[in-house]
């Protein structure tokens, strides 16, 4: 089945820098969601962007969606050590009626 793919698989940056993660998918979607998972914990929903939206903000998070390229990006500005986690995109595909999760980007913030 179609699955979102995050890029890069792993990212390490210095505290205070911005972190950008990308997600690509293959079919038409109703919405795309980003989740965060701290090690050994459940996933936490960050933001949902619908197919007719191009950009969305929530605090230090900025998500973009380009349906023509079938891609989304998650930008975390002014990163903090507490942002260290894995980040997953999940796509709600047209006609599928379920969320399909990618394999995630492991983000490490170096103090």
């Amino acid at each position: 089945s179609q699955q979102g793919e995050e890029d890069p698989q792993a990212l390490s940056i210095q505290e205070g820098e911005n972190a950008t993660m990308n997600c690509s998918y293959k079919t038409s979607i109703n919405n795309l969601q980003w989740y965060r998972q701290n090690s050994g914990r459940g996933l936490v929903h960050l933001i949902l962007i619908r197919s007719n939206e191009r950009e969305k903000h929530s605090g230090r998070l900025r998500v973009t969606l380009d349906t023509s390229k079938k891609s989304s990006s998650l930008l975390i500005t002014a990163s903090r050590a507490a942002d260290t986690a894995s980040y997953f995109c999940a796509t709600d595909e047209v006609g599928n009626e379920k969320l399909t999760f990618g394999t995630g980007t492991r983000l490490t913030i170096i103090p």
């Binding site: 699955q3 109703n30 919405n31 969601q33 050994g40 914990r41 459940g42 996933l43 936490v44 929903h45 949902l48 997953f88 999940a90 709600d92 009626e97 379920k98 969320l99 399909t100 999760f101 990618g102 394999t103 995630g104 492991r106």
Partner: protein, 112 residues
């Protein structure tokens, strides 16, 4: 506010033994419920979902089964565990099939 509980948090079981993982949701009614499995360092694999009591859909043929005996209770079971059943099991709920999913803390299962 809504909360989701999973137990146990950690479980070590021998091959061939039975399994029962429980998930309960508080503060909402008629939620959609999901069981996922996550292998180490990997994404989530949807195992089962339920849109109502007694209604279970299986996504992947496997050694596991699910039941929903009550509106806010979702149980993952196995009669005989395999080594390949080891993993991190996550329960989640949502208000609709396409909406935000809220995850429990997970159960780490190790089959030896």
């Amino acid at each position: 506010s809504q909360t989701i509980h999973q137990w146990p948090a950690t479980l070590v079981q021998p091959v061939g033994s039975p399994l029962s993982l429980e998930c309960t949701v508080e503060g909402t009614s008629n939620p959609n419920l999901y069981w996922y499995r996550q292998a180490a360092g990997r994404g989530l694999q949807l195992l089962f979902y339920s849109v109502g009591i007694g209604q279970i859909s299986s996504e992947v043929p496997q050694n596991l089964s699910a039941s929903r005996p009550q509106d806010r209770q979702f149980i993952l079971s196995s009669k005989k565990l395999l080594l390949s059943d080891s993993g991190f099991y996550l329960c989640a709920w949502s208000e609709g099939r396409r909406e935000t999913q809220y995850f429990g803390p997970g159960t780490r299962l190790l089959v030896l």
